[in-house]
């Protein structure tokens, strides 16, 4: 409906505030009489803590308190928990070590919080933190994903006897091996899915204040929705009634998965505020976030696929090593199975599948969800296999995909691990991308590049996602006296533009002016009881459907009130464009809302007010998918790679706001470009983080990409009435395999068969050198 309804490129409501310095990020909030926290972090990857001497620190200027792990034990503070539950095939349960907020006896990764100083100024807190003396008994450490399961590797949890968390398996290994052996063609890929620093631009921070009179605690922190944090902090950690703990996130500077987690620093700030009776504030330095924010990815995958002569794949084996870090974070260990595994074999119909996952402990900060959370890894495996299959059979990369796509006729299609795909035009989406990128005209461009001494390649990747996990979410709608409508959501916008999109939906469903719709989120005091937050590309579906359900309830009630006002039957009343009509007479929604406050104007027995509180509940996710084509050029002399053209075609179902969805695609692609080209976490053998700042960790910059083209192939989802599919993580799924495919295309004819991410110039150069040396020999 109109210029503000569904599908319109509406400019964002959020922007004016954020563009004029009016954002309210956690560090922007200052509480009366606040004091400041600084943390003492472990310099060792593995060490027994023999003594912590806080005496000198306590006597320094401005110092109010110093806390160590023992203080938390004494105060009865709970543990950081993980509720995953996997078992080995022999029935042995996974190893679940306990995690103290600040460990007392041993530290297991560089950057782990071991003590906290609270002082009158940030500088005093920092100065005193330097004066806390800790005696360590340094132990050998292991950081390497490739070697953590080696015989004799240092053990992160010696009492467990190995670094393996669990060996989780799906399918019949012997049967799959036999089928692979019998296949006409068998291809194998060995892939490193590089570890990443998630790096939302707002460094992590937290402030807390405690009101002793009411016994209530308020915590300000960036998040992806506060309800889960509230429950964890109240019930598990600080042993308070949940209603006495309030989590507020006004603006949050990016999330990407890691902001939905509970971190020790947040617990400590809350703990200290309660203990001291003064507001406590902490803003992390970027260097702190590098070592203490959860990292992303970090898998090694070996995958094999068996195909017949026509390129039809029938059997698949995937073996995954996952580095979970020193402890089990909330979701890290689940990602290969519940994140990626449920979608494998992605867009392809492959009947036989064996899947082995070995998560392992190392002396590093935990890994956890990062944009895509297991699906980029899964799609990367499948796309590299398809390229390998095409090469082995001498087929084109598009043909082999076409031959194996799950077709619309096969849907609903159940994946091995339990997703049911409802919709998707995989072939059509791929064709759109090929056409937009002038795939067939590529050879002429390759020749032109060759004439300048450059190696040009074009790459293709298709992908599918599972979006909208935990599809249960509340939504409240309140009618204000001035006719405005306020939504209270448990989803939480931290860049996604919910304030805008939800207002579009209210405008669409209820005809309320776009400007008169407001969103309040990021506050557990007002958000619906049933609330999970924003992650996994879920808010378009669960939040959008929440708005729809609330609107429907409003219309249903409003129709009865309108009928009463118009002196007719409710069945005769139709609602359209914000107006209830019965034949020639009508009443507006605003008038109905006003009347609803006046008992004399209401039908007998009907509760006053038009406000609604609903819970949208779904039993399935949705399945965004797409096809990306990347064209690039390599300077063989230096290995420098330049992306020349990038086309992304996404099926995000019905598009609520193309302006915003494009932004999600661009951003996701750039994160994928980062993973493919520049980003890489490097630990040395002793567990020290070498890529510990933006000086050493290559963030993607504006110059890494040209203008990309993003198109939509709209295939409405059948899993929700809006027809939406989550858009947030698609780009990060498509870009790495598309870029690898292009590099493979550029280099395969000179003999390069394999190269791992990130494709740094040196790596590309070396691959070319080695291939040339082989050729020459």
């Amino acid at each position: 409906m109109g210029e503000f309804g569904i599908g319109q490129p509406v400019r964002r409501k959020e922007d004016v505030r954020l563009l004029t310095g009016g954002g309210e990020f956690t560090d922007d909030i200052n509480l009366e009489a606040q004091v400041y926290a600084a943390f003492v972090r472990s310099p060792h990857a593995n060490a027994k803590i023999s003594a912590i001497d806080t005496l000198a620190a306590r006597s320094m200027d401005g110092v109010i308190a110093v806390y160590t792990g023992q203080d938390l034990v004494d105060a009865g503070v709970g543990l950081l928990i993980n509720d995953a539950n996997y078992t080995n095939r022999n029935g042995k349960p996974m190893h679940k070590p306990t995690r103290q907020v600040m460990p007392v006896a041993q530290t297991r990764f560089v950057g782990e919080v071991l003590a906290m100083v609270v002082a009158e100024t940030p500088a005093q807190a920092r100065d005193a933190a330097e004066a806390v003396e800790i005696d360590y008994d340094v132990l050998p450490a292991i950081a390497s994903t490739a070697h953590a399961l080696d015989e004799g590797a240092p053990l992160v949890w010696p009492e467990h006897g190995e670094n393996l968390v669990v060996h989780w398996e799906y399918g019949d290994k012997d049967d799959v091996e036999a089928k692979l052996a019998a296949a006409h063609t068998r291809v194998r890929v060995d892939l490193v899915n590089n570890r990443l620093i998630v790096s939302p631009m707002e460094p992590r921070s937290a402030s807390a204040e405690y009101d002793a009179a009411s016994g209530s605690l308020t915590v300000y922190t960036p998040s992806q929705g506060g309800r889960r944090l509230q429950m964890m902090l109240a019930r598990g950690l600080l042993k308070m009634a949940p209603e006495k703990v309030r989590i507020i996130s006004r603006d949050t500077g990016g999330g990407f998965g890691i902001r939905s987690k509970m971190y020790p620093e947040t617990v400590m700030v809350a703990f200290a505020a309660r203990a001291l009776g003064r507001p406590v504030k902490w803003r992390g330095d970027r260097s702190e976030t590098f070592v203490s924010d959860y990292h992303g990815r970090d898998q090694i995958n070996v995958a094999e696929m068996g195909l017949d002569a026509s390129g039809r794949a029938s059997v698949l084996k995937v073996e995954t090593l996952l580095n979970v870090g020193a402890y089990l974070s909330e979701n890290g260990v689940r990602l290969p199975m519940e994140g990626g595994g449920r979608i494998i074999p992605c867009m392809y119909d492959i009947p036989d599948f064996y899947f082995s996952v070995k998560p392992m402990f190392t002396n590093t900060i935990c890994t956890d969800t990062y944009r895509g959370a297991g699906r980029p890894e899964a799609n990367f495996i499948m796309e590299r296999l398809m390229d390998a299959g095409a090469k082995a059979l001498g087929m084109s990369r598009e043909d082999i995909r076409r031959r194996n796509f799950i077709t619309e006729a096969q849907m609903p299609y159940k994946t091995h691990l339990g997703f049911t795909l409802d919709s998707g035009d995989f072939d059509g989406t791929m064709q759109m991308a090929l056409d937009a990128a002038d795939w067939t005209g590529f050879e002429a461009r390759r020749a032109e590049s060759a004439s300048r001494g450059k190696l040009r390649g074009v790459g293709l990747a298709t992908f599918i996602e599972g979006a909208g996990s935990r599809p249960v979410e509340g939504m409240r709608m309140r009618f204000e006296e001035n006719g405005d409508v306020t939504l209270f959501a448990g989803t939480y916008s931290h860049g996604q533009g919910h304030e805008t999109v939800y207002a579009q939906l209210v405008n669409e469903f209820l005809g309320v002016d776009f400007d008169k719709v407001h969103l309040i989120d990021g506050d557990t005091a007002t958000s619906p009881e049933t609330s999970n937050g924003t992650f996994g590309s879920r808010s378009s579906m669960v939040g959008g459907m929440g708005v729809k359900r609330a609107s429907e309830a409003v219309i249903a009630k409003g129709r009865k009130i309108a009928a009463h006002l118009l002196q007719t039957e409710a069945e005769r009343v139709v609602f359209e464009n914000g107006v209830f009509r019965a034949q020639s007479s009508s009443v507006t929604l605003a008038e109905v809302a006003t009347a609803s406050r006046d008992a004399s104007k209401m039908p007998e027995g009907m509760a006053l007010g038009l406000d609604e509180s609903v819970v949208f509940e779904n039993d399935v996710e949705n399945f965004p998918n797409g096809a990306h084509v990347c064209e690039l050029e390599i300077d063989p002399e230096t290995g420098i790679l330049e992306i020349l053209n990038y086309v992304a075609v996404d099926d995000c179902g019905v598009i609520l706001n193309p302006f915003i969805v494009h932004g999600q695609v661009y951003g996701g692609v750039m994160q994928g470009v980062g993973q493919a080209l520049t980003e890489n976490v490097v630990y040395d053998a002793s567990g020290q983080l070498l890529s510990a700042s933006y000086m050493d960790y290559g963030m993607p910059r504006a110059a890494h990409m040209p203008m990309m083209e993003a198109l939509f192939n709209v295939v409405p989802a059948k899993t929700n009435e809006l027809g939406v599919k989550g858009a947030g993580e698609a780009g990060a799924c498509g870009a790495p395999p598309a870029i690898l495919s292009a590099v493979g295309d550029a280099l395969s004819h000179i003999g390069v068969s394999h190269i791992d991410m990130p494709l740094t110039p040196e790596k590309v150069w070396r691959a070319i050198q080695e291939a040339s040396a082989v050729k020459a020999a």
């Binding site: 933006y694 110039p761 150069w765």
Partner: protein, 264 residues
Amino acid sequence: MHNFNYHRAADVADASGKLTSLEDPKILAGGMTLLPTLKNRLAAPSDLIDLAAIADLKGVSVEGDEVVVRAMTPHAVVAASAEVQKALPALAQLAGNIGDPAVRHRGTIGGSVANSDPAADYPAGCVGLDATIVTNKRKIAADDFFLGLFETALEEGEVITSVRFKIPTRAHYMKFRHPASGYAVVGVMVAQYGSKARVAVTGAGPCVFRLSEMEAALEKSFAPSSIANIKVSAEQLMGDIHCSAEYRAHLITVYARRAVEAMV
């Protein structure tokens, strides 16, 4: 960062006096390297002596066969100077590719040169363009100035006041940017002075160095082919998580040749 005493030097003599009389002082020029170092608590000087208020330490000029850049001139000013662009475009280009625009607005030539950061661009400019580093006490040939990793010929109380670049027949600077920091992984300044040639490399070693073999080859024939096959030993070069010493050695040859290609 740790606290310190702050001094705004009135003139060079004042700065020099404070440098010798205070406990553990440091000169503050643009602060682009010093302040991040202090913020990360990797150094804790007792005093910072700010040169920003000294007016005659700013500006560029062409004097005879030299381009003179005063010590507190920001990189952006050098890059944007019409005079420099005309007389010594390679220098303007070098300055215009240091760091990022905001860094170029504050970072100064004096600070860069005095620090002898192995990955800084200016040292290659100084050595490659046969510069003279002028201090409050003496003139030092660039060849004699950069001694090692963060080590220069500057003595106690010595303050750089300007850098005088000798205008070459032609020159060109090529840089491979570090993918994260933007510093030079390899930066090569190639300059021709009549029958003489200079090739100075930054980023790759502990400090800027010259490649005499390439210089000799270019003096015989100033052509890309003269140096295209001159290999550089990786032995003395640095490696990090992004670029190994071997790769840097390779890049030096490629970038030197490309610099010559850009000129002929």
